[in-house]
Symmetry: C2
């Protein structure tokens, strides 16, 4: 199904792959690891994947919402994210001083100093996952049938890396289920199968594996083990920089009543709601396609181009 391209053998290294993407102009270097510009050809593929995910969700008649790439600081405080993933946070700081402080700030900039100390917290942080603002929006009582929400946004995770598959800022398209436990488990399992179909359709060699989130620190190792033990999270993995260690390009999660409890979401019976979500990483799927079919999308197999509306 997944035929490695002529231009990029499966044994080529991660750094050869990045060099090829930069040389073709598909990625544009900014000088910061994991922060890339993209050209029109790359973006056309992203749009195609986006549309495939939207189409795969269509029969569930999701509410479509789009939040910007920053969310309220209060939302992240409430969400438990700072307990689990402080190392990935992107808090937005700004300048509130007068002319004198401004002069000091500019002096620090000029001397290559740390001008961050002249800034202070704002009310927003970068969105860590497209589904977070959905839980904030859903606080209160759900309708009897629960809710299905289609959300997508740029997400930030502070993990600078030279691996193209680990960008600090990337787009995630999610479908979120809020309702009773049974409907959430069924939703997650249904989406593992739909996700596999979508990725197969565009010629990707996908596998489904149990997974855990990258929880922080000592306590985090315990959380990760529990998450695996309870079989809450699964990832769809595809070769990008390594065939032996394929990269997660999508994941499906059952959060039990974690977000329902934190955000005060109740089902129609008054019980704390359960939630589940499936997320597709648009840049990672694009990279997997470029790896599988070669770095010239105009020469990809006709069926793949047609599925992506290229």
């Amino acid at each position: 199904m997944c035929s490695p391209s002529a231009t990029l053998a499966p044994s080529s290294t991660a750094s050869e792959f990045v060099s090829a993407l930069l040389a073709e102009g598909l990625l544009i270097d900014t000088g910061v690891p994991g922060v890339f510009g993209k050209n029109g050809a790359f973006e056309a593929v992203v749009r195609g994947i986006d549309a495939l995910v939207e189409a795969a969700a269509e029969d569930m008649r999701p509410e479509l919402v789009r939040f910007p790439p920053v969310i309220p600081r209060s939302l992240i405080e409430r969400s438990g994210y700072l307990a689990g993933f402080p190392q990935l946070i992107g808090a937005v700081h700004s300048f509130g001083g007068g002319d004198a402080d401004h002069a000091s700030l500019l002096r620090a900039v000029e001397q290559g100093g740390n001008w961050g100390e002249f800034l202070s917290s704002t009310d927003v942080v970068l969105t860590p996952a497209a589904c977070y603002p959905v839980y904030g929006m859903a606080a209160g009582m759900l309708p009897p049938e629960g809710r299905v929400v289609d959300a997508a946004s740029y997400c930030f995770r502070h993990e600078p890396s030279s691996e193209p598959g680990r960008m600090q800022i990337f787009r995630m398209h999610e479908v979120v289920r809020l309702g009773d436990p049974e409907s959430c488990v069924a939703f997650r399992d249904e989406w593992l199968s739909r996700g596999e179909s979508v990725l197969h359709e565009i010629g990707l060699d996908v596998r489904c594996v149990p997974a855990n989130d990258p929880f922080f620190g000592r306590r985090g190792r315990l959380l990760a083990a529990t998450q695996r033990e309870q079989a809450l999270k699964f990832e769809l993995v595809v070769p990008i920089t390594s065939v032996e260690l394929p990269t997660a390009v999508a994941s499906a999660n059952w959060h039990q009543d974690h977000f329902g409890e934190l955000f005060g979401i109740h089902d129609a019976s008054g019980a704390t709601a359960h939630t589940a979500c499936v997320g597709f990483g648009l840049e990672r799927i694009t990279l997997a396609l470029l790896r599988a079919h070669g770095t010239a999308p105009e020469r990809w197999p006709r069926a793949v181009r047609s599925a992506l509306q290229l």
Copy 2:
């Protein structure tokens, strides 16, 4: 041309307009001023405007590039933005500590304290304008004919406001010219006229006015006056929350050799390049349409719906 809708009289106040948008679900409140979610109807209009701008630029055969909503800190340091607009900056801070610092951070969160002090600067800041990464990318020598680049991204400006037309985070679609002074002035003037046509086509009552950027502090007042005196910046304004004080929905700027100098961009003759750009505010244009034609896009005039591919 611009017929006020039946549902929203031109005399309705700004807060009545916001209430109507929230009630219809077009905007979704997040609790932070100027940070809104949007529903599918709002997003369809945004996509329509985006496509109109792309089509208006087509005969210039621009290179299409898309950068994420964060850019390198070094780029913003080099750009002069911190001299002109420190009050609008959004610098991204993250957590680099260990388990003990993490415990202190979580205590601060729990006590409603300032956990920002446990964070430090990262290598990125939020994108203030879609064209900034283009100047970074263009450092070096231009081809003989210069360059035309189509760029779009979410932009952040820290100015919390209850006015729907002044979002902290919004999308800007820009076309950028890099070349000699004559081509840049001609580009700016051409785009004032094209911009007016695009906005007229969708039934907006647009006017072109001279303008200046919101430079910071004492020195800023002088910079703003000079910018007006030299007639460098023009805005296309349309009524959103007030007919008397219309809102800028697009602007066209000639930067002279400001960015060419800062980023080391040269034309083929070796002279410092000039630059110009036109930027369309996608949320503001959508709001202007909702103000002009009413808050139900499915009842907008047929010609407007057709132009927006609704």
